[in-house]
């Protein structure tokens, strides 16, 4: 299980995240939601060890994550950042092969090849395995990066806005894949997400941040609530449940209601 204790991050005097503590339920999808500048990505980057915390700890089980060798950490926690840029030509399979780096340092074993194939098949990317990344669509590229993280075979996956700039079909494909990762393989998925509807329909657990502090957290059922979301986003919400899930409608706030 991954958890954070009293985690804070300052840039000079500016506090981006203040004394945040949270236990992320294992084997479930947790969506981190909140307005821009709430500290969501900062929290995720601290957990990924891409930023140094100003205070507090990230715990992996009982161990302090920052004391663990980075290579060992990479075998437990995989991270996919926001729209990762790439300035070289790589094929999809070559990119996914990097997911095995923490285990084999680039010289792939039979096992590694199997994991790479599994990850590609899991996301139905096998037909594109030899295509170059700069020749496929943005959605397919995002899937390729996700496949790399999956091939890393970690118990925890951290994803920073994985649906950014994707069309609906690819967004649904990614969310369904994440759901299957939890349900079929028991992995813990933690993602920062802006689309509250995807969060409501696919995650088990919600962590809402605002101005660097935890606003609320809990099971999706308890937290997708009109008044909680209204306070979080300062927008007027109407939540409609139907047989396929729920829709949080915030598109046309009633006049005056958001004040």
């Amino acid at each position: 299980m991954i958890s954070v204790r009293n985690l804070s991050k300052y840039y000079g005097a500016r506090q981006v995240l203040s004394a945040t503590s949270h236990d992320f339920p294992p084997g479930q999808i947790t969506s981190v939601i909140g307005p821009n500048g709430a500290g969501k990505s900062t929290l995720l980057m601290l957990m990924a060890r891409l930023l140094e915390p100003s205070q507090g700890q990230v715990l992996l089980g009982q161990d302090d994550a920052t004391l663990m060798p980075i290579n060992q950490y990479a075998q437990n926690v995989a991270t996919l950042r926001q729209s990762p840029g790439l300035n070289m030509r790589l094929t999809v399979a070559e990119l996914v092969a990097f997911g095995r780096f923490p285990y084999s340092r680039g010289s792939l074993t039979q096992d590694d090849h199997r994991m790479i194939d599994e990850a590609l098949n899991f996301l139905s990317l096998a037909p594109l395995r030899h295509a170059y990344l700069d020749e496929i669509s943005g959605g397919q590229r995002q899937l390729a990066f996700l496949a790399m993280t999956i091939a890393q075979q970690t118990s925890v996956l951290l994803l920073d806005e994985p649906l950014n700039n994707l069309d609906m079909k690819h967004a649904v494909h990614i969310m369904q894949s994440l759901r299957r990762l939890c349900d079929e393989q028991g992995r813990t998925v933690i993602l920062v997400i802006h689309d509250v509807n995807f969060a409501a329909n696919y995650s088990d657990h919600i962590l809402a941040l605002k101005a660097g502090e935890v606003q609320f957290s809990g099971s999706t059922h308890d937290t997708i609530d009109e008044s909680l979301l209204r306070d979080l986003y300062e927008l007027d919400f109407e939540i409609m449940n139907n047989k396929r899930g729920c829709v949080c409608d915030y598109f046309t706030p009633r006049l005056g209601a958001s004040q």
Binding site: A74, G85, N87, F101, S107, P127
Partner: protein, 331 residues
């Protein structure tokens, strides 16, 4: 299925092409080396051939240094334009030589000896590299344009300072300094060659261990960290190795300016990959070919009426301009 089969065979072809290209280059290098050694030598094994052999060794060691340092540096800062030469390494070397001449004079320089000068320059490069690395690592995400600006400004400031020193020294010393500021394969003596061979061998042995980590670093620092690479340590190690390579190449053959960019980018184009196990050998072969061709042209076509630097800068400078114009916005 058909589509992927086709791509499969493309991939196979590109591997075969790489081997073909590299073998062609190697054959060319052997041929050019033999010409350099033997052409018009009258097979004089007592004087001419040993002299030329030293020159050939300088070319080989120098091109190894230039290719390895440029390609690895580009991986560390994650772009295709910056090289150690642009980041001011060579300017620092020249400034140091100018200062030495000013304070000690040519006699002092002779007293310091080749070895002394070599090792002090090396230490100086390491210090410069350490400062640069502190600054590079201090940045969450080094911005290309800022790095480029800093590099150019540093080079300019240091070169201007060198010029200022030049005005204070006497004409004889000025001639010595002038000689140092052009690339040439004839200046190296046996001592420098020996130290250089030892240094480059050491760098290769240490550097070879972490080639796979360099590959991961081509995905960017953050992604490499997520894949379990200790990027801070890796940067520190390789910047130190690069400092050694640059100090070897500058003391052996002088400043190489644009050559690094030229070699690195031709390498990426020819090896169609950024895997260091492919790019580093290819880069070395390209640099050797280029140096050998330039040296042969200077010796046999231009009869020493031009220098290697002028030839190389002419070709490479034009290529550099083309690179900036053609890849505008995508670098």
């Amino acid at each position: 299925m058909l589509y992927s089969d086709k791509l499969d065979s493309n991939r196979h072809n590109s591997n075969r092409h790489y081997t073909q290209k590299l073998s062609c280059l190697l054959l060319l290098i052997v041929a050019l080396s033999l010409i350099l050694l033997l052409a018009g030598s009258g097979l004089d094994v007592d004087y001419i051939i040993p002299k030329r052999f030293a020159r050939l060794t300088a070319i080989i060691i120098g091109s190894l240094c230039v290719a390895l340092s440029s390609i690895i540096f580009q991986t560390l800062v994650n772009n295709r334009i910056l090289t150690p030469a642009i980041m001011g390494y060579e300017a620092v070397y020249l400034m140091w030589q100018a200062l030495l001449l000013l304070t000690l004079g040519t006699h002092g320089l002779a007293m310091l000896g080749t070895g002394g000068n070599f090792f002090i320059s090396l230490a100086l490069m390491l210090v410069y590299s350490w400062l640069l690395q502190r600054w590079l690592l201090g940045q969450a995400r080094p911005d290309l344009y800022r790095l480029l600006l800093i590099g150019l400004v540093l080079t300019m400031v240091i070169s201007t300072f060198t010029q200022f020193v030049q005005l204070r020294i006497d004409p004889g010393e000025f001639a010595v300094l002038q000689g140092l500021s052009y690339a040439s394969f004839t200046r190296a003596n046996t001592d420098t060659l020996l130290y250089s061979i030892i240094a480059v061998t050491l760098v290769c042995v240490i550097g070879y261990k972490y080639w796979p980590e360099l590959d991961a670093l081509t995905l960017g620092q953050a992604q490499a960290t997520s894949l379990g690479v200790n990027t801070t340590q890796l940067m520190r190690l390789y910047l130190a190795l690069i400092a050694i390579l640059v100090s070897v190449s500058t003391s052996l053959i002088g400043p190489t300016a644009f050559l690094g960019i030229f070699v690195a980018n031709i390498t990426y184009a020819l090896s169609a990959s950024r895997k260091h196990r492919l790019t580093l050998p290819m880069g070395c072969a390209i640099a050797m070919t280029l140096f050998l061709v330039a040296q042969l042209l200077v010796e046999h076509v231009f009869n020493y009426r031009t220098t290697v630097t002028i030839l190389i800068n002419l070709v490479c400078g034009a290529y550099f301009l083309m690179l900036i114009v053609r890849t505008r916005g995508t670098l």
